[in-house]
């Protein structure tokens, strides 16, 4: 017997049938039928946020950490527009997400009704796809399609805009959740072209100065383990993008760290000198390439990407391979193995020479990961030291989210990620206010895990209302606030490019007492000002004592510190400033 359900009930039932465990949302008029349906069931848990932007970041953090799509529910008008920043964030980083927005009743659409906004129109440039639901009967198929589109191919956010009349409890329709879906106009590649993969293998075998350049696609595409195995087998150096951190173990000797604007000296030099670049799930972003005209002049470029439009967009690929990173590498591995058993490492001597050169770069100008060894307990804390202390206190085993700015780069440079999906940040869009809600999404997904949010006071204040949500749901997140009383990255650029004129990048006199602030939200606040206090405070924050509490470490760091290396604008990848002395 076919069940008959109202649109509101169908929507929630379809989410259950999709295996959704959490919805991050905020109610409002146009979504109330749906909220009533939520009230009358137990299988999907709704998390009440304090701002819709935060709901999208929570769903995003959940998706990045688990690989499963995040789900958001908001009402029409301002509820929907508030969600846009988070949708755009997910879009830029290819994160699977389904956002359900209430809409005014169908007969009021287009009349400038109360809380009406054209959500499909407003969100169009920042979604993978969107649906405006016409009738309750369409809901099961629309939801099925939405999840399929969000999670397949190059993942991304999908919006389902639902007019209120469609969820009317008085109107029911037969409900049957589709088992499968096929769209004639959407057929993402499931595997790479064998001939192209063979060409890539031949190029890899000939390489004398190879670099593997791994991006977020390796993490999102669940290819980290296999890529690591292949890289180890070949003894090739690996550099990762900001989005790719953790795709290859950071503590492995073959890991060169991050590349690009704030990438390591050894990464950027290796890229520039490489004769072969194997790019996997990376998109040659402008923050990586610096001046595309001067990019890696000697390199043959093999580019594996699920999205054909990412290939040869910025840098022409010599050997393009369209397909999921995992499937392509699965096909590549036995071919490589065959090649290696037949001929051995093609040019072991050249590779050894290459490693010598790389290790030279690493030794001469690599990052200093031992800054905590400094002994003066009264010294100002350097932000890098705070991240190193975090690494030490968590034994490198935390999920780390970040906001955007200097603290983000310090976290990316100094927290050693040995596993994928542990580093969660807004790479493409660079969304301040991402860190705390993203950490919440991760903590919901993994209640027992250690989740740290490395933030700055500027970013933190963009979504700090979620401290209330953290209290409501008892989320024991640890916030490490690198407080420099300034919009640090803005200030750094002003120092470097605007003669030190700090136009609207400081607000020292107007900052709240963060300890009192978080205490008023029912959490634990600890103020840290001197180097001697740093490690004890960090250890305490992550101790058993606070296992169930949110702890906010307000770490006052040296505000003069800049992020280095920093790419020199218009240059090649190896053109970078390495210290403040060079920029003055």
């Amino acid at each position: 017997m076919t069940e008959h359900l109202s649109g509101g009930d169908m929507l929630i039932r379809a989410l259950q049938d999709e295996g959704v465990d959490y919805i991050f949302g905020y109610p409002g008029g146009a979504a109330l039928h749906i909220y009533d349906a939520i009230f009358r069931q137990q299988r999907v848990e709704h998390i009440l946020v304090r701002h819709e932007q935060a709901a999208t970041h929570m769903a995003d953090g959940y998706a990045r950490a688990t690989g499963r799509p995040g789900v958001v529910l908001v009402t029409s008008g301002p509820g929907a527009t508030n969600a846009i920043t988070g949708i755009a964030t997910a879009y830029m980083d290819s994160i699977p997400m389904v956002v359900i927005s209430g809409q005014v009743p169908s007969d009021l659409i287009g009349t400038d009704a109360f809380q009406e906004t054209d959500m499909v129109g407003v969100s169009r440039p920042v979604v993978k796809h969107s649906f405006l639901v016409r009738s309750a009967a369409d809901i099961p198929m629309v939801v099925k399609k939405a999840f399929y589109i969000a999670t397949s191919g190059r993942p991304g956010p999908v919006v389902i805009d639902v007019p209120k009349d469609v969820t009317d409890p008085a109107i029911t329709a037969p409900y049957k959740y589709p088992k499968s879906v096929s769209l004639r106009s959407y057929n993402p590649a499931l595997r790479g072209h064998t001939g192209q993969i063979r060409r890539a293998v031949e190029a890899l075998a000939r390489a004398k100065r190879p670099v593997i350049y791994a991006g977020g696609g390796v993490v999102q595409g669940n290819a980290a383990e296999l890529m690591t195995r292949i890289a180890k087998r070949l003894n090739f150096p690996v550099t990762t993008t900001l989005m790719g951190l953790g795709a290859f173990p950071a503590t492995d000797r073959q890991c060169l760290g991050m590349l690009g604007m704030h990438g390591t000296f050894e990464s950027n030099n290796a890229m520039h000198a490489a004769d072969l670049i194997l790019a996997i799930g990376a998109r040659f972003d402008d923050r990586v390439t610096n001046n595309p005209k001067k990019f890696c002049p000697q390199a043959t470029i093999v580019h594996i990407d699920i999205d054909p439009a990412s290939i040869s967009k910025i840098i022409p690929a010599d050997i393009p391979i369209v397909g999921p990173a995992l499937a392509v590498l699965e096909e590549m591995e036995p071919m490589l193995e065959q090649e290696l058993t037949k001929h051995g490492l093609p040019d072991a001597a050249a590779l050894q020479e290459w490693w010598k050169q790389i290790d030279g770069w690493r030794t001469s100008h690599g990052l200093n990961h031992h800054m905590l060894d400094r002994v003066d307990p009264d010294a100002k804390i350097l932000p890098q030291q705070a991240v190193q202390a975090l690494l030490k206190a968590t034994s490198g085993d935390a999920y780390v989210t970040s906001d955007v700015g200097q603290h983000q780069m310090f976290a990316a440079q100094y927290y050693a990620f040995d596993a994928p999906r542990r580093w969660i940040n807004s790479g493409g869009l660079g969304t301040m206010g991402f860190g705390l809600p993203a950490a919440m999404g991760v903590q919901f997904a993994f209640p027992q895990a250690t989740v740290a949010c490395v933030t700055g006071e500027g970013s933190f204040m963009m979504n700090m209302q979620e401290l209330s949500t953290c209290l409501q749901y008892g989320l024991p997140i640890k916030v490490v606030n690198l407080n420099n009383a300034a919009l640090g990255m803005v200030k750094q650029w002003q120092d470097m490019q605007y003669g030190g004129r700090h136009s609207h990048s400081t607000y020292r006199e107007a900052l709240p007492d963060f300890v009192k602030l978080v205490e008023s939200f029912g959490h634990v606040g600890i103020r840290v000002e001197r180097l001697g206090e740093l490690m004890p405070a960090m250890t305490e924050a992550f101790s058993e004592k606070y296992r169930k509490r949110l702890v906010f470490l307000d770490v006052h760091v040296d505000p003069e510190e800049h992020v280095y290396p920093m790419a020199i604008k218009g240059g090649s990848m190896r053109d970078m400033f390495l210290s403040r002395a060079e920029t003055n």
Partner: protein, 163 residues
């Protein structure tokens, strides 16, 4: 480089806005755009003319293909094709110029489809350059109103854009 790109699109509400939005969002140029349902009512066919170098055109076709509702994309200018545009043009036609306009229209194989004491309305089809040529020949000074359909195009011979 001018390119004619043909797109088969799901005939659904909002699909066209995604195509147009894509061009605006990514700073691609649209010179002309035509769209109408095909013999299969679930599909629309859209023809867009644009300009750009090879890599830009490659990006345009790839980005179009990424739109969920886009079924197929073909760059007609990659091969032999036929292109046509329809123009309705109203011109000032008085005294001695009337005969002259009639003669020019005949040369261009146009038809005068509406006549008043003072105006002619001419219908002309052909490649875009032919329509430009006609306007040049009769002289801009007497042109009152121009309506152009934008380019429609189709591949020659066995080259077919279909499901």
């Amino acid at each position: 480089m001018r390119r004619i790109i043909a797109v088969l699109l799901e005939n659904e509400a909002g699909a066209l806005s995604r195509v147009v939005g894509l061009f605006a969002q990514r700073n691609y140029n649209i010179e002309t755009l035509t769209v109408a349902p095909t013999e299969d009512e679930t599909l629309s066919r859209l023809t867009v003319t644009t300009t750009g170098d090879a890599s830009k055109i490659e990006q345009i076709t790839k980005q179009l293909n990424k739109l969920i509702e886009v079924v197929k994309v073909m760059d007609l200018t990659d091969g032999d094709h036929v292109e046509r545009e329809l123009m309705l043009i109203k011109v000032r036609a008085e005294g001695t110029t009337r005969a002259e306009i009639k003669r020019t229209t005949d040369i261009f194989r146009g038809q005068i489809i509406d006549v008043t004491d003072t105006t002619y309305t001419v219908q002309l089809t052909g490649p875009s350059e032919k329509l430009d040529g006609y306007i040049g020949a009769i002289g801009k000074a007497i042109v009152l109103e121009v309506v152009r359909s934008g380019v429609s195009g189709i591949g020659r011979g066995e080259k077919i854009l279909g499901l």
